[in-house]
Amino acid sequence: MKSQEAAERRSRDLSDIVLIIPCSGIGKAFGSISREATYCVVEDMKKGETDTLCLSSLVMGDEDAIRSVKSHRCIAVDGCPNECSKKNLQLLDAKLAANYRVVDVLRENRTLKPNAITFLDEDGLKLARILAERITSKIDELSERGTVR
C-alpha cells in the first residue's frame, strides 16, 4: 500500500512540474534572452518545480516531448512577435498556462539595449532577469490558485 502511495505521489509531483519552453531563436538577442530567462527560472529561481525541453524536438514530433507538454502546464517564452513557442504549443494542444515575449519586456525597459547575441551583454542579462521574475510570479500565482502544487 505504501509503495502504491509513493508511486501516486511521484506521479502527482511530476505532473506538477511546469515546463518553460523558450523559442530557440538564434538570429537576434531576443532568442538568447528568452533562453537565459528560462535557465534562470529552471536552474535558479524555481529549481525542482520547473523544467525545460527542446522546442525543436516538439516541432519534429518527438513522442516523449509531446506527451510532456500535454500532461504538464507549460509557459511559452518567445523572443519575437513570430511567437514560435506559443504557436507550436498551441498546434500540439499543449497545456499552455501563460506566454511571454522578450520584445514586450524590452518595450517596457527602453533604457536597456541588448546587442550581443552569442554571449549576452549586461543589458541582455538584465532583461532576462526581469523576464524570469515575471515568469516566477506567474508560477506562484498558478500555485496559489491551486493549479500548480
Partner: protein, 138 residues
C-alpha cells in the same frame, strides 16, 4: 553546376542539453567570424509554423544541419519542409570522435565546451567551402 552565394546553417538550438548549446554557439561563430558574408541562419521552429521565407530559402540554397543529438531535429525539419541537406553534423558524434569530455553546463559552456564549439565551427566552415567549390549538385 550552379554558383552558390549563400548557405543556410541551421542549428537545432536544443535547450535541454549541452550539445544543443554547442550547436548554437558554433553556428553563431560561423555567422559572426568565420564566414559572415555567406552564412544565413534559420530559426528551426519557424519552419513548422509555416514561415515561407525560411522554407523557400532552404529550398533554393544549400543547407547544413547542425544537430546536438541523434534525434537530428534540424536535419529532419529541413528535409521535411524544404529539401535535402548538403551536410548533416551531429555534435554528440563529433565529441565522441574528438574524445571531448564534460563540456557541461548547458547554460554557460566551460573551457572544453567552448573549445568544442570552436572546432565544430571550423568543421562547418570547411563544409561550406566544399559546397562553394563544387556548387550545388542538385
Amino acid at each position: 553546376m550552379n554558383a552558390v552565394s549563400k548557405i543556410g546553417v541551421v542549428s537545432c538550438s536544443g535547450e535541454c542539453c549541452t550539445e544543443g548549446t554547442i550547436s548554437r554557439i558554433a553556428t553563431r561563430i560561423v555567422l559572426e567570424k568565420l564566414r559572415p558574408d555567406n552564412t544565413v541562419t534559420i530559426c528551426l521552429p519557424l519552419f513548422s509554423i509555416g514561415e515561407q521565407g525560411e522554407r523557400m530559402f532552404a529550398k533554393f540554397f544549400p543547407t547544413i544541419a547542425v544537430d546536438g543529438c541523434d534525434k537530428k531535429c534540424a536535419k529532419n525539419a529541413i528535409e521535411k519542409y524544404s529539401g535535402k541537406t548538403a551536410r548533416s553534423i551531429v555534435i554528440s558524434d563529433l565529441l565522441k570522435n574528438w574524445n571531448i569530455k564534460d563540456p557541461s553546463p548547458r547554460r554557460q559552456l566551460n573551457k572544453n565546451g567552448l573549445e568544442a564549439a570552436a572546432k565544430v565551427a571550423e568543421e562547418i566552415a570547411v563544409s561550406m567551402d566544399a559546397i562553394f567549390k563544387r556548387g550545388r549538385q542538385s
